[in-house]
């Protein structure tokens, strides 16, 4: 499902940050086109 897909990541500073999600979805063969870590405070 992720292999070969373009992925946009909306991480959360108080949850799972964008960088951590980037690292894991890259192992599934996804291409990260956008990644950010939002702050809801």
């Amino acid at each position: 499902m992720l292999n070969g897909k373009k992925v946009a990541i909306l991480g959360d500073r108080d949850g799972i940050p964008g960088g951590a999600i980037e690292a894991v979805v890259a192992t599934a063969g996804a291409e990260v086109v956008f990644s950010t870590t939002e702050c809801f405070v």
């Binding site: 946009a8 909306l10 799972i16 951590a20 690292a23 894991v24 599934a28 086109v33």
Partner: protein, 107 residues
């Protein structure tokens, strides 16, 4: 959801094709993750940002959902996500985001 990020998601969906783009969330709470999921699939429910009234229908998942976890390297997943997975209310997040996806995602 951040208004600038709404604009970016809209731009990528238009440029790459909504069917080719998957949004992955890392929100700490089910409600916030659900709002973000709704924004990129049905449109901005607060009618404040560029996605107000724009139903992109994007495929959207939280990174703790089984569909994502099962496709990623287990060791990397454990290293990057494992700690937060123990802290977050994973069942509530899964229920909320999958419910939104089933209602509004077109891909």
């Amino acid at each position: 959801m951040d208004l600038e990020n709404q604009a970016r998601i809209k731009k990528f969906a238009e440029e790459l094709g909504a069917e080719n783009l998957v949004v992955i969330l890392g929100g700490a709470e089910a409600e916030a993750a659900g709002l973000a999921a709704e924004t990129v699939s049905a449109g901005d429910p607060t009618y404040a940002g560029p996605l107000a009234g724009v139903s992109l229908g994007l495929a959207v998942y939280h990174v703790v959902e089984d569909e994502i976890k099962s496709e990623c390297d287990a060791a990397v997943y454990e290293e990057q996500i494992g700690m937060m997975e123990m802290v977050l209310d994973v069942d509530a997040i899964k229920a909320e985001v999958s419910s939104i996806r089933k209602q509004y995602s077109k891909f």
